[in-house]
């Protein structure tokens, strides 16, 4: 079910699909992000950048969405890179050591550059 406390908007930038998250990512809204990533993968795009600039909150349900897709995406030669997190959101990723598995960049542009390198 759609919830107006969270939204995800996809914009393709050449071969990278950028997902812009807004609001709260929790157990209620995580299925919306899951659908959005599924849609991107269905199109055969495996370079996925997630921009957190307007995301105010994340719980473990949100972290679980990235874990659900990372293996498949990397097997296809792509990646899920994360960018532009507010300190509070980054603190949740950092608490569990997620920066060990995911590239977390300060800015979207530097994350896109990393896809090319």
């Amino acid at each position: 079910m759609q919830d107006n406390r969270f939204s995800v908007k996809a914009i393709d930038k050449k071969d990278v699909s950028c997902l812009y998250l807004t609001g709260y990512l929790d157990a209620h809204t995580a299925p919306q992000l899951e659908s959005a990533i599924e849609q991107v993968i269905k199109q055969g795009i495996y370079k996925i950048l997630v921009n957190f600039r307007d995301l105010d909150y994340i719980s473990s349900a949100g972290l679980g969405v990235f874990m659900a897709f990372i293996e498949e995406v990397r097997e296809k030669g792509g990646d899920i890179k994360l960018a532009d997190m507010k300190p509070k959101v980054f603190s949740v990723f950092d608490l569990l050591g997620f920066p060990l598995l995911f590239d977390v960049e300060k800015e979207e542009n530097s994350a896109i550059v990393k896809f090319k390198s």
């Binding site: 929790d26 719980s59 473990s60 569990l96 060990l100 598995l101």
Partner: protein
């Protein structure tokens, strides 16, 4: 000071549904701020409560003991040293303290998913106690205690 001497400040009841999580977080955060937690501490407690309640939402329906069990009750206690949230539910007892913490290196290596909520709770909260329902008390109590810095 024993727990019985700590003042209860408020209680609230929420439906055990995922669309209540944002309201639950905000309730806990605002109570925390008004009772002496910093913004950062209040955020940590509200996230821990979100994780506990998300687990209830996910599992309560299959564990519920009665049709009236689909509610979560929150009680807030505090004194000058601590801020305590009690989460009451009427589903089958499940003690989060019985779940071992995951080895995150292995977790990432195996691309696992889920099971991190309890780990987050433990990382954010100073003490977690669990009191399962019994014959003369038909609800479980999860007690999350945050020390006030």
């Amino acid at each position: 000071m024993s727990f019985n001497e700590i003042k209860q400040h408020s209680k609230a009841r929420f439906k055990c549904e995922s669309n209540e999580l944002a309201s639950i977080r905000e309730y806990v955060r605002l109570k925390g701020l008004s009772l002496g937690l910093s913004e950062e501490e209040a955020f940590k407690v509200s996230l821990a409560v979100d994780e506990a309640c998300s687990n209830l939402v996910k599992h309560a329906k299959k564990r519920s003991l009665s049709e009236n069990g689909f509610y979560i009750c929150l009680k807030i206690y505090s004194d000058q040293n601590q801020f305590i949230v009690e989460i009451l539910d009427k589903s089958q007892p499940f003690n989060p303290n019985s779940v071992p913490s995951p080895d995150m290196q292995e977790y990432f290596k195996q691309f696992k998913r889920g099971g991190l909520g309890i780990h987050i709770m433990r990382s954010l909260i100073d003490d977690i106690a669990y009191f399962p329902a019994k014959i003369d008390k038909d609800y479980n109590v999860l007690q999350l205690k945050k020390l006030i810095a």
